[in-house]
């Protein structure tokens, strides 16, 4: 395996990322509206996803040509458009969606964030066998929720090849969010290469796409700026551990083109408004591998909805979200034009569009922020500034942190299949489940082998950290601590049981897992039907993982055990430990995974059984 090493600099990479072709998928400058509906085998329509309404829908999955970068490629599309058609549903309606597969391989559609029977969830191998070539599958379910959601393929790598679209479920009652205009802004990423080839390259060389590694030149600059000793210190831990301080994303602009509503930065997707209007922007992160940091220079955003659930309005300058997440914001633009700027977390590129009073306008595009090294906080968690007042000292054994003082080895949790043990940790003297999630770190026994490259023994648990690259940048950045779902938790019960899983991986081998066990090595996680269970996720890696549990809501809580927000996709930062409550009211088998597509595919995936 090749290994490159380094001394690093926060300088912007010299590679100029792909601005893309202005015309995107529509070649010859044909207006998207000139296409007849159903002209699927012709060039892909991009930038203006058609809106489908009603209760009966026909979606056809096929291949259609695109050209985002000057290289013609085939994308996998629904009804020939990227993004796929926006589905506008109504809370309370029963929708019927006929999905026909014209590909030569299986396909599927998963309705991300929608509560429905497990057979309609669209995950091949868990919900249903998948939709074979030539087959039509009929999805049918009743909408019991409202808000902004999205849908995408759950087969192969089709989600990365163009198969994603937005869903708007209009509320049954009057929408408390009153606006004059409404736009979906779906961010995604495109690669001209086949995603399978991209994965093979990552398997051969984990840092293949990282062109921001520390170099000797960076080292000498650091020496002149901070002295030899500090420069050496800065690199020492990374060198010892053989890990890369700029490992923010697996793929970079080297191979990705960042899209906004299926449009390249050069294509400049534009949303029009009239001055004085209140505009709702439904941001959806439909990327396969990219965290976006979104802001609109000159325009504050009031966040009103997260993952389809209304939140107490909070006004910010910027927010970060990962694949799977959605944020609805309200803006009141006053100037002629604003740039909607979404830079990728590794700072190698951006997606962008414009809000303007008329077509053809542009506002200045900000420069990419410099890439930063991961910090001690990101690697080790909460080492120095521990708030001792908040810790439950009774439960912590400082002399052997990271080792469990309790004899859990004796408790055979897997002993009965009909009635699982349902441990009440409060009764066992953890001293924490009534007050909040357990703070005792319990690594799995399978976290000490070849599938793991690090473990965090002192995680940070605060939710108010905007994350690497967004700290102290002079802007108000949204954090999970700012989200307060309107109406509070959906279930007044506290946790009846608590489970803990660790997010793990080995970057060098490009392996990702829960508890050091890849999906193929794993057993399912069982929730008893009807129980209210607490799930603790502890991130033993240096990357942020957007964790998505299908079928049920994840009710994020604070480290003290107070309700924070209802979400379907929770970003867990490096060395962070978070917890959420689940009311297991959906029978069936469900998928649970990191929504970074390559991580999911390499094994950070579990099956959940609710029975």
């Amino acid at each position: 395996m090749r290994r490159s090493l380094s001394t690093i600099s926060p300088r912007m990479p010299r590679r100029r990322f792909v601005q893309g072709l202005a015309a995107g998928g529509v070649m010859l400058g044909l207006s998207p509206f000139a296409h007849a509906a159903g002209a699927i085998s012709e060039r892909t329509r991009t930038g203006a996803a058609p809106v489908l309404t009603g209760t009966e829908f026909n979606l056809e999955v096929g291949q259609s040509p695109v050209n985002f970068t000057g290289n013609p490629r085939m994308a996998v599309t629904i009804n020939g458009s990227i993004p796929a058609p926006t589905l506008r549903w109504r809370e309370g309606d029963t929708v019927t969606i006929r999905v026909k597969n014209t590909l030569k391989e299986d396909t599927s559609i998963h309705w991300h964030g929608i509560i429905l029977p497990y057979q309609m969830d669209g995950v091949p191998g868990i919900s249903f066998p998948g939709i074979a070539p030539g087959e039509t599958f009929i999805y049918q379910f009743k909408l019991e929720q409202s808000g902004t959601y999205w849908y995408h393929s759950h087969s192969g790598m089709q989600e990365a090849q163009g198969m994603y679209g937005a869903i708007i479920v209009e509320p049954r009652d009057t929408d408390p969010i009153r606006v004059d205009r409404d736009y979906i802004i779906q961010l995604s990423d495109w690669t001209d290469e086949s995603p399978m080839r991209v994965l093979s390259k990552l398997k051969a060389q984990g840092d293949y796409y990282n062109y921001n590694k520390p170099t000797v030149v960076d080292f000498f600059r650091d020496v002149s700026e901070m002295g030899m000793s500090a420069a050496l210190d800065k690199r020492q831990m990374w060198n010892e551990m053989r890990m890369n301080p700029t490992d923010l994303a697996d793929l970079s602009a080297d191979v990705l083109t960042y899209l906004m509503n299926g449009t390249t930065p050069a294509g400049n997707w534009t949303g029009l408004f009239r001055p004085g209007e209140r505009v709702r922007l439904r941001f959806v992160n439909g990327a396969a591998n990219t965290f976006y940091d979104v802001r609109i220079p000159g325009l504050k955003m009031t966040v009103v909805q997260a993952d389809g659930q209304n939140v107490e309005p909070v006004t910010v300058d910027e927010f970060r979200f990962g694949p799977g997440q959605t944020y609805d914001v309200v803006v009141q633009p006053k100037d002629d034009a604003y740039t909607v700027f979404a830079q990728s977390m590794d700072r190698t590129g951006y997606a962008r569009g414009t809000l303007a009073v008329r077509e053809g306008l542009q506002a200045p595009i900000p420069a990419l922020d410099p890439a930063q090294w991961l910090t001690m906080t990101d690697m080790m968690g909460d080492m120095g500034g521990m708030d001792h007042g908040a810790m439950d000292h009774g439960a912590m054994d400082h002399g052997s942190m990271g080792q469990v003082p309790m004899g859990h080895g004796e408790m055979n949790h897997a002993s009965s299949s009909s009635k699982p043990s349902g441990m009440d940790h409060g009764a066992m003297g953890h001293g924490s489940s009534s007050a909040g999630p357990s703070k005792t770190v319990r690594h799995a026994r399978t976290e000490y082998g070849a599938s793991i490259d690090m473990r965090v023994d002192t995680p940070r648990m605060n939710l108010d950290d905007p994350g690497i690259g967004l700290r102290n940048n002079g802007r108000k950045v949204l954090t999970l601590a700012d989200l307060h779902t309107v109406g509070g938790p959906m279930d007044p019960r506290g946790a009846e049981r608590e489970i803990e899983l660790h997010l793990t991986g080995n970057m060098e081998r490009y392996s990702w897992s829960f508890d050091g066990l890849e999906f193929g090595q794993s057993t399912p996680v069982h929730f008893r039907y009807g129980e209210r269970v607490r799930v603790i996720l502890h991130n033993d890696t240096m990357m942020t993982h957007p964790m998505h549990l299908h079928g049920v809501w994840s009710e994020l809580e604070t480290p003290d055990g107070n309700f924070q927000a209802r979400l379907h996709t929770i970003p867990v930062q490096p060395a962070q430990r978070i917890s959420f409550l689940v009311t297991a009211d959906a029978l069936g088998r469900w998928a649970w995974h990191c929504h970074l597509m390559f991580h999911m595919d390499m094994g950070m995936f579990r099956e959940v059984v609710i029975a």
């Binding site: 868990i126 051969a204 170099t215 799995a444 000490y448 890849e518 057993t523």
Partner: protein, 307 residues
């Protein structure tokens, strides 16, 4: 010390010291941290907290404590593809962690010139398998006029034993034009050591009681994102004389190379470099008696590629 050996030792020292000079060193990975956290730890006499002993916390490696959590504890007895709500096993979900991957690396394919002679040389590795178990093919050799003059090829089963290390076991085949070939059983380790050294150490057992050892190390020093310097060294040891192959017992030969590589793409890397090769001890004597040289300095230019 004989001149050849001196050069090898010098090379070893350069290869080992350079990254330390550039990057820093400390044996204890926590030494840089314990002072800062001690300073921040507030002593609360009421709880009698002991200061955290960072020596106990290992972020990498180590073995699980006796009461480590069971990762299957939450299954409630359920299995994938079996039981309530499970699909028929023929629809079993197989993610890429259960798929096979493969790669071929030709690290160096080069033109070599030394003492007025020219020839070609290659060094590469290929593998096929899953994340933790692979079939590995390693090879190194020299060729001239389209024919292989000398080669060492190993076919091994690689198994991941820890975060950065694999054990490898299998066979090695040595070929030399005009010489008898040799076959060996091979057992060794390959991996990435702290400070990013790529190491490879293998022991061999041949017929007629022959034994051998091979050790190699390589390092990549990034000058820019695409230009890097690659010092590398290799040394061989044989347990018995093998006069038919001009090998004497003991350390037989060593090579230290320095190649300057430029990645046109990640997968196409031209380079130039220089290599010092030396024979030692009895092997050196044998070479001298045959009228050959004990050491040579080689100019190399070539390309590395992989797919």
């Amino acid at each position: 010390m004989k001149t050849g050996l001196k050069k090898i030792v010098f090379g070893l020292v350069v290869v080992l010291v350079l990254p330390f000079a550039a990057q820093g060193q400390t044996q204890d990975s926590h030494a840089g941290h314990s002072s800062s956290s001690q300073a921040d730890t507030t002593r609360d006499p009421a709880t009698e907290m002991t200061p955290m002993d960072h020596g106990d916390m290992k972020m990498q490696g180590g073995s699980p404590p006796a009461d480590a959590r069971d990762p299957n504890a939450y299954s409630g007895g359920f299995k994938r593809n079996e039981g309530q709500y499970a699909l028929d096993p023929r629809y079993r979900l197989k993610m890429s962690d259960e798929h096979l991957f493969a790669s071929l690396w030709m690290d160096n394919l080069e033109y070599v010139r030394a003492r007025g002679q020219e020839w070609g040389a290659y060094e590469g590795q290929a593998w096929i398998g899953s994340t933790f178990n692979r079939l590995v093919l390693k090879g190194e050799g020299e060729f001239k006029d389209g024919k292989i003059q000398e080669s060492r090829t190993e076919v091994l089963w690689g198994h991941a034993i820890s975060t950065f290390w694999d054990t490898q076991m299998g066979g090695r085949f040595d070929y030399g034009r005009g010489e008898p070939s040799r076959q060996w059983l091979a057992l060794g380790v390959q991996g990435l050591a702290p400070y990013w050294f790529e190491l490879d150490a293998t022991a061999y057992l041949g017929s007629e009681g022959r034994t051998a050892l091979r050790f190699s190390a390589e390092y990549n020093l990034l000058l820019t994102q695409k230009l890097y310097l690659q010092p590398a060294m290799e040394v061989n040891f044989y347990g018995k004389d093998d006069p038919e192959r001009d090998i004497g017992r003991g350390f037989s030969d060593g090579t230290v190379g320095l190649r300057l590589k430029y990645e046109i793409t990640r997968q196409f890397v031209p380079y130039i470099g220089v290599e010092w090769s030396s024979k030692f001890g009895k092997t050196a004597d044998i070479a001298e008696e045959a009228g050959g040289a004990k050491q040579e300095t080689r100019f190399v230019a070539g390309v590395g590629f992989w797919f």
